[in-house]
């Protein structure tokens, strides 16, 4: 009789759908890192002296640090002298419209299904496209400018709004924060800058698409987002990367600042190249993301769907400084094949009556290893602080792993901290139940996985949620035999 041998076994096989390399000419500086390289990057970008000094301080501090060994991941030692720290598409005259963008680049965006043109015409999403470290097109700028919203590349912000950059750069993630943040601070190439003025509700989802392209080029993005008093903004970040063999380092820094009564929603769908079935290639995603609820009643929500990268090392965190401020973290992390993820959050309660919510959903398939690591700290002055954490793990097959490391540090007796955790397995009986109703095994797995992630997906903007569901489907394709 027909059987579905080990129906849940052997999640594997799908080739990375977005794997291709486009051949736009890249301008690169030689491999390796030194003070000279830092100076060169700064000078190519025509940066002011204070920024160069900041980079150099970061670089010198980085020299004193060691790569962290505490994450629950393993990878060969990275040779930081074997990385190219800057590459940019051939310099062009300043662009006024998409027509001036390299047609080759537009084709790349087409392949990704995110043609700027289309975005501009149809979706009402303003896109600041970061292509190989330099922003090449910014849309909807005029409309946003009318409202006083600044949304531009980081380099542009350094030139046009140096006072804002100077005030907030490193104010949430200091260059000395950790090894990879220090590295980023020294050599960051470009990124996005966003400022929402007082009382302004940003009328559209702001979105950046990242893409690693030039060979051997580490990508060091820097994002700085400031929501002034009573401002509201929703920011989307999504990425795909081309297939290649060498491991690629991606060490971004994202800083969010929310003033009094401000709300920031930061959503990420991360789909970097995860490596092949045997774990060869793939991106190392070592990211520092942190938001500061600086003013009273402010709120920061991190929502992430992490399906890509060979290794993910990422803890989007909230510093709840203002009284009554709210921090939220909703995460889906999927590891298949030989992927490793060590991800979670930190909620640091400083102000009174601060509240935080953590919902983490880890899915492990193949030989994937998935770790949740989170810290909830209630400082002595955080009277009436509350936290709720929920960490669920879903296992598919019997060769993968799920790990949970929750740290709870409470220094105020009025605090309420709750932690719930569960681990479950997609059962053969669940699959069979679906099969018996006519639903294929693949659809059944998707359905069960999406059901598992429901609480996170409903935090995503609608179109992103649809994309995320598709992405999970693609990432798990062929994984049930």
């Amino acid at each position: 009789m027909p059987t579905t041998p080990g129906a849940i076994e052997d999640f594997a096989s799908q080739e990375y759908k977005y794997g291709f390399v486009s051949d736009i000419d890249a301008v690169a500086i030689p491999k390796g890192l030194s003070e000279d390289v830092v100076r060169m990057i700064s000078s190519i970008k025509e940066e002011p002296e204070w920024l160069l000094e900041w980079r150099l301080k970061a670089y010198r501090h980085w020299l004193t640090m060691d790569s962290p060994v505490w994450p629950n991941v393993s990878y060969p030692t990275i040779d930081f002298q074997d990385i190219i720290y800057y590459s940019a598409p051939k310099p062009k005259i300043v662009l006024n419209s998409l027509d001036e963008v390299d047609p080759e680049m537009l084709i790349v965006f087409e392949k990704l299904g995110i043609s700027l043109d289309e975005q501009k015409r149809l979706s009402g999403v303003a896109v600041d496209a970061v292509f190989d470290s330099v922003s090449v097109a910014t849309t909807f700028k005029d409309k946003l400018a009318e409202m006083g919203i600044i949304f531009c590349s980081f380099s542009e912000a350094v030139k046009e709004h140096p006072e804002l950059v100077k005030e907030y750069l490193g104010s949430v993630v200091p260059y000395s924060d950790n090894f990879f943040a220090a590295l980023n601070s020294a050599v960051f190439s470009d990124g996005s800058f966003c400022y929402i003025p007082k009382g302004v509700r940003c009328p559209m989802e702001l979105s950046t698409y990242f893409r690693i392209n030039a060979k051997d080029t580490g990508q060091f993005e820097r994002t700085l987002l400031i929501a002034d008093e009573a401002a509201t903004v929703s920011y989307l970040e999504g990425c795909t990367a081309p297939m290649r063999d060498e491991n690629q380092l991606h060490a971004a820094v994202v800083e969010l600042v929310a003033m009094k009564d401000a709300t920031i929603k930061y959503s990420t769908v991360q789909n970097w190249y995860p490596g092949d079935k045997d774990g060869k290639g793939g991106i190392y995603n070592f990211v520092t993301k942190r938001g500061k609820c600086d003013g009273d009643n402010s709120k920061i929500t991190w929502t992430q769907v992490e399906t890509g990268s060979a290794i993910t090392w990422k803890y989007p965190s909230c510093i709840l400084k203002g009284d009554n401020s709210v921090g939220e973290f909703y995460s889906v992390a999927l590891t298949n094949h030989k992927q490793q993820a060590d991800t979670g959050t930190k909620m640091i309660h400083i102000g009174k009556n601060t509240r935080s919510t953590i919902v983490s959903k880890g899915i492990s398939a193949g030989n994937g290893q998935n770790t949740y690591r989170g810290l909830v700290r209630i400082n002595a002055g955080a009277e009436g602080a509350r936290n709720y954490s929920q960490c669920d793990s879903l296992l598919i097959g019997d060769r993968c792993g799920a790990h949970t490391f929750p740290y709870i540090d409470v220094r105020n007796p009025s605090a309420q901290v709750e932690h719930e955790a569960s681990t479950s397995k997609i059962g053969e009986d669940q699959i069979f139940y679906c099969n018996q109703r006519g639903i294929s095994t693949e659809d059944a797995v998707n359905m069960i996985v999406n059901g598992f992630c429901k609480e996170v997906f409903r935090e995503l903007p609608m179109e992103f949620a649809v994309e995320a569901q598709k992405l999970l489907g693609v990432s798990l394709e062929g994984s049930v035999g």
Partner: protein
């Protein structure tokens, strides 16, 4: 052509032979009851029919509408019109009941070359069936079987059967764990789903479900075989006198299958 024809079926779980030569023919419009003590092989028969893994057929064949059922995957059988109401319906956390059922209905329709139902059409169909079965609409908003009572789970199975409209429905111990009200509700529901185009096989330990679903033919299974077939009076006799007398007859070779 019969809807279901089982010929000399032998099946095992791991190395243990459970079914030892089942012969059974079920025609359109008929309701068959298969009774028997625990361990007689009733549920194994249901599982083999629905294509569950872990069972190996070693001999015999099963024809469904003339096709080799054993050659089909579980989902192919479902799409061809075989429905099983589970003894223990599984929970699918986070999966909405309506969404699940729509995916199932459309998978079946797709196989048959029928148009996919959109949300509007589907809701119309679903509400119709709820009404027939006298089930409240809150069922639609819930997650598949999550937090359901025993009775709710079984009624949900019957509701799914109503929506998916199978040509052969196998009810595996649908009465187990039900109180008398739930039993009546489920029994009446199934009776409403009787039709000239549909065959129903009711697998049960007790006669009581058959008070609500009146069978055309009753079979008794013992030790992997059907040892007696008769009309509904056979079920009543078992209810009144237990299985011992039949076991005795089987032992002494007085079997009339």
């Amino acid at each position: 052509m019969s809807m279901l024809e089982i010929k000399n079926l032998h099946a095992r779980v791991e190395s243990k032979e459970i079914l030892k030569g089942i012969n059974l023919t079920v025609n359109k419009g008929e309701v068959h009851a298969i009774m028997g003590l625990n361990g007689s092989g009733k549920s194994t028969l249901a599982n083999v029919l629905s294509g569950k893994d872990d069972y190996t057929v070693t001999e015999g064949e099963i024809l469904f509408e003339g096709n080799d059922l054993l050659d089909m995957d579980p989902e192919e059988r479902a799409r061809a019109g075989v429905f099983m109401a589970f003894q223990y319906p599984v929970e699918l956390p986070g999966v909405n009941n309506t969404y699940f059922l729509k995916a199932a209905a459309n998978a079946i329709r797709k196989e048959r070359g029928e148009e996919q139902l959109d949300a509007m059409d589907f809701m119309k169909l679903v509400r119709e069936k709820l009404k027939v079965l006298e089930i409240g609409e809150d069922l639609l908003k819930r997650e598949v079987n999550v937090g359901f009572s025993g009775g709710e789970k079984k009624r949900n199975e019957i509701f799914q059967m109503a929506v998916l409209n199978p040509s052969l429905a196998i009810l595996d111990e649908t009465d187990s764990g039900l109180d008398i009200d739930a039993l009546r509700a489920v029994g009446h529901g199934v009776t409403k789903l009787r039709s000239a185009d549909r065959a129903i096989v009711v697998i049960t330990h007790y006669q009581r479900l058959l008070n609500y679903i009146e069978p055309d033919i009753v079979h008794v299974m013992m030790d992997g075989k059907i040892v007696r077939s008769g009309d509904k009076s056979l079920a009543l006799q078992l209810e009144n006198e237990g299985y011992a007398w039949l076991e005795e007859e089987v032992r002494s070779g007085l079997v009339t299958a």
